[in-house]
Amino acid sequence: MISNIIFLLVAAAAIGLFVWQIRKISKNINLGYDKDISDNPGERWNNTLLIAFGQKKMFKRPWPAILHFFVYVGFLVINIEVLEILIDGIFGTHRVLGFMGPLYSVLMAVNEILALLVIIACAIFLVRRNITKVPRLAKGVEMRAWPKMDANLILITEIVLMIALFAFNISDLKLAQLAGHELPGAFPVSAGLIDLFGSDESTLRTIAGFGWWFHILGIFAFMNYLPSSKHFHIIMAFPNVYYSKLWPKGKFNNVENITHEIKAIMDPSYQPPAPALDAAGQPIVQRFGAKDVEDLSWKQMMDAYTCTECGRCTDVCPANITGKLLSPRKIIMDTRDRMEEKGEHPAIFKPNHYKEMGVERVKTTDENTLLRGYITPEELWACTTCNACVEACPVNIDQLSTIIDLRRYLVLEESAAPASLNAMFNNIENNGAVWAFPASDRFNWADDLYVTVKG
């Protein structure tokens, strides 16, 4: 009875803490400006099914995709057992879902096989990160102490949680065998290890109890660690894919304020709509482009919380491949760090605290803004807008939209484009061409042009 009450209190505290952290994150995301993304729900659900649930884009790289798929399906299926653990914990029952009979057996069997696969996959992931050092996971100025530790912590925790599950199942199974009754369910892995902990009943009870408590407390801790971690993608991947852009990747958004200004220039009778008002009734003066996180949309903020730091974007970035400073992953990680510095931060991760850990980052200034304080013009100007990063991202993050918004601020608010680009702008303004040729020569290509007439 006491253990039921303790369990209930712990569960309530864990869930309460989690909700409190989620509220902070939602507040951070809403630092971004409002943008209506409610069109085409059918297409959005379709993307969510294929890309988020189906992990379609992961399979561009088959081996990590298969291993990741084990962990993902393991997570989903094992959660059914977690539900049972919750019910057992609250009501003091034992394997309450056992009434499902053969279905329960299948479920438990699949669970055990997946748990074993999760252990294997996580072990291979640890090797890839720490021994073979896959470049996209090990290199890059943004991969400082915290991201590396974060990744290892998660992998080790997952392995330990699975081992706790096995410890519970093995001793539970052995206890049932000793008592001469049959345990509901089928346990292909634990059955083979049934004698692992001997046959002393009280030891077995302790191990079963410990395994059970460790697994469930581990899950509560893990849940509250999530908001501080790249592992938060297990939640954010779904809304982020749902709200990702549906139009062709080549289409960049048109800045609406500018459209009104130009319409007014071209037609003096044009009346631009009145600017939106803030809470105090003052018109909101929006910057052109983005200098800091609040100049980005909430979707761009959500991108930052969805990032798993897998580095697929940086791995295919032509600028990064050829040694330039730009790393699309850093753009997204910087956005998250800056957002948590400026807004709220979750329970564990405090970006300022970790800012200087590890290798020296890109040379920034002391300006307390996303632009220059985190992301430098040199990084931004190295982008070829080729969309390789956007194409590579398994969770549909749009790194390019943030790069373009930061560029827009540099050009429109600071006139801080490289001189050669300013020359190109001048050419377009003066003669309607990117090079300094007079508009009157534009048709000269057609001079003395012949075609062979074929019979």
Binding site: L325, T385, L421, F443, K454
Partner: protein, 267 residues
């Protein structure tokens, strides 16, 4: 021997003066109008248009930059100025269908003009050529033979990833009956030539290598003697990359329209 005929390229203004409208507007673009190398692509494409007898026109001196490089560089103001004045011209001529040999012009007019009031059917010349070949209007015969020649196609980002056009240029090349080889990074995984995002008009940031050299090495690695492209800026970058590797005598960069015009014996 077949004879040669002088082409008088028709303009929208001439059509309008006669109270007529052409079937398509050929949007030439800055590179197609001013870049010496790409002017040859424009001329090849016009030869094909004349050969198949499609009713087309160009804007001539009324054409202006689409604003693409300004937009990618962050100059949204200049982009929208260009876009809106171009839309005024296009709408005044009641243009319905636009064909262009530049993926940047294609992407901008097709995707970014509609929000500003410019709604047209926009086709890239790779798709247009694919249609002409499929309809039998271009036979890909009677000129230079490419049989057995090794050709690799370099995907333009603004055609490929930006607009999911991967097959049209490959289908066009397949009609040449050549030996098509793919680079390791192709289609959705294609590597940029390094010119996009207004990089064409600036020096690259400090790094260990130029992007076009990295890409040219990959193209040369296929053993192809022709690198086919479908974008004026890719063409400049790939040409420079090939020169950087001192391979310009062995490997040539051609636009798909040049290859077709030449295989058809039009030049």
């Amino acid at each position: 021997m077949s004879e040669k005929r002088l082409i008088k390229v028709p303009t929208m203004a001439e059509y309008a003066a006669n109270g007529d409208t052409p079937e398509i507007l050929f949007w030439v673009g800055c590179a197609g109008s001013f870049d010496d190398r790409y002017k040859r692509v424009t001329r090849s494409f016009v030869q094909i248009l004349e050969h198949v007898g499609v009713k087309y026109a160009v804007l001539g001196t009324e054409e202006s930059c689409t604003g693409d490089p300004a937009k990618r560089a962050g100059n949204e103001f200049l982009f929208q100025m260009q876009a809106m004045s171009n839309i005024q011209v296009l709408n005044a001529y009641e243009v319905k269908k636009i064909v262009t040999a530049c993926p940047h012009c294609f992407n901008t007019i097709k995707n970014e003009y509609p929000d500003l009031g410019g709604n047209y059917e926009v086709i890239h010349h790779s798709t247009f050529l694919q249609q002409l070949i499929n309809e039998g209007k271009v036979k890909v015969a009677g000129g230079e033979s490419f049989k057995g020649k090794r050709i690799t196609f370099h995907d333009s980002c603004y055609l490929g990833r930006a607009n999911n056009i991967y097959e049209a240029p490959r289908d066009v090349l397949a009609a040449l009956d050549a030996d098509l080889v793919e680079m390791k990074r192709s289609r959705a995984n294609g590597l940029c030539c390094g010119a996009g995002g207004a990089q064409m008009w600036k020096e690259p940031e400090p790094g260990k290598k130029d992007i076009n050299v990295e890409r040219a090495e990959e193209a040369l690695g296929t053993g192809a003697t022709i690198i086919a492209s479908a974008c004026p800026f890719c063409m400049v970058m790939m040409n420079d990359g090939v020169k950087n590797k001192n391979q310009e005598d062995n490997v040539k960069v051609f636009d798909i329209a040049e290859l077709i015009a030449s295989a058809e014996g039009l030049n």
